[in-house]
């Protein structure tokens, strides 16, 4: 019964098609406009990895096993979060042409942009898999636990969508949210276990992996991708709770502030 309703809805509505169309165009705009094209999407995390590897493994000698892969998975998750939040603060301004002349639902604009970021993430993740399985000397190979990454990514998607909704609707009434968020996110970057040894991180900042929603996502992603372990379910529960609360808040913000976008921006 439910399936039939859903099926009918899919057939009669063009929503799914539209989301995909907008996501594809967004992706193309971002990567095919410059000379190096899609290569940028792949080069950027590699460059970051080289920098952090030199600093934390060679200069500071942290001695984390498989450090390049450790950085790789952490950075691509983090970059998705940054692109989907910092990158979308002005979304109601840049995508004004979509809602200024029609009664299109604004939520579709957000979801399609995040879908476009997800395509980028997918390419990066494929690179990670190739790197980890073929080039990493200390690799433990593939395992069934790897599939947990889907749940972890969904968590990240909801979290980013929520934050994106909140930030971009605040932008309507306070333009300098961009600067405020920049400071906040660089703080959060250093408070996430992206390049620190996990044990040091947990020792120095006890319980902070429960306070920072990105920390749990990165820790769990490493467990399932590199340690062949299931995720820490308690941590995952916390992170899903954070993401859901932020998404609900974001929806409230969109209804309250977002509806004024056409006249204020």
């Amino acid at each position: 019964m439910l399936l039939k309703i859903l099926n009918d809805w899919f057939k009669s509505s063009n929503k799914v098609e539209r989301l995909w169309l907008l996501a594809k165009i967004e992706f193309k705009l971002r990567y095919y406009e410059n000379k190096l094209g899609l290569l940028w999407a792949l080069i950027k995390p590699l460059m970051d990895i080289v920098i952090y590897y030199v600093v934390f493994q060679i200069i500071m000698q942290q001695n984390v096993p498989a450090f390049a892969s450790y950085l790789f998975i952490g950075l691509i998750l983090w970059n998705f979060f940054v692109e989907s939040t910092t990158g979308t603060i002005q979304i109601l301004n840049t995508k004004k042409y979509l809602y200024e002349y029609s009664n299109m639902n604004k939520m579709e604009i957000y979801v399609s942009t995040l879908l476009s970021n997800s395509i980028g993430f997918f390419f990066n993740f494929m690179m990670f898999l190739i790197f980890y399985n073929f080039f990493e000397k200390e690799s433990t190979g593939l395992s069934v636990q790897n599939f947990w990454i889907l749940a972890i990514f969904l968590n990240l998607f909801i979290l980013s969508l929520g934050m994106s909704l909140i930030l971009s609707t605040i932008y309507i009434i306070a333009k300098d949210i961009t600067q405020v968020w920049m400071v906040f996110i660089s703080f959060l970057f250093f408070l996430s276990p992206i390049f620190y040894k996990l044990s040091t991180f947990q020792q120095r900042l006890p319980h902070f992996d429960y306070g920072n929603p990105m920390a749990g996502i990165i820790i769990n992603a490493r467990s399932v991708m590199m340690e062949q372990m299931p995720p820490d379910f308690q941590l995952m529960g916390f992170d899903y709770a954070y993401a859901t609360i932020l998404l609900l808040l974001g929806i409230i913000f969109l209804n309250r502030l977002g509806s004024k976008a056409a006249e204020k921006l």
């Binding site: 063009n14 907008l22 029609s102 009664n103 004024k260």
Partner: protein
Amino acid sequence: MKTETAIIAKDISKTFHISEDSHNTVKHRLFNLFNPPKRKDIPALKLTSLEIQRGECIGLIGRNGCGKTTLTKVLAGVYPTDTGYIKINGSTMLMNLGVGMSHELTARENIYVSGSVLGLKIKEVDKLFDEIVEFAEIRNFVDTKVKFFSSGMMARLAFSIAVKAGADIMFLDEIFSVGDMKFREKAVKIFESSWIQGKTVILVSHGMEVIKKYCNRSAFMKNGEIDFFGDTEKAIELYTADNQ
């Protein structure tokens, strides 16, 4: 045939709050916590109720600054209303000269995006694509970014998308001034032959002949209020008197 309502608006109104400083920032808000900026309220639309049936062609006339554009934007669901409620049955599209296109996208992409926003499936846009391009006379510029288009080309493209793809409820703001004489003739022809039937149209114009020709009901607006809503002849009379 059963008539259905396309738009029901009950007690809607819209006031714009314009503050003297245009910069809305956190810093500014914090520093001026006890010294709020002077605000000016502009009642662009005073309490109004109206009902529009599906398939009707409604004229909207009035002098500049009387609230025509605000009313169309509120009715199209682009602006939220301050009071009352609006029920819109179907997709809406507001059309004036530089309509809903991204300058960063090519004509092809814009056709697909607009078509999709107007509720068409990709396959349906595929079928309409050539018609739209031919009608807009931009065959050689299909894969050119719209930002390189001349304003005439842009307006023609927008018009063609609207004509061929069209939303359920169309708000047309002075559209008969698009393009050269040849294009205008073509536009009027298609407007008369196919478009006006079946679609709900709200026509905003200062050209009384156009209003008289197509609309059976019209609204005359004055100072943010609908002064009269009904017979077109009467509305035009009032408008002419107001212009004296």
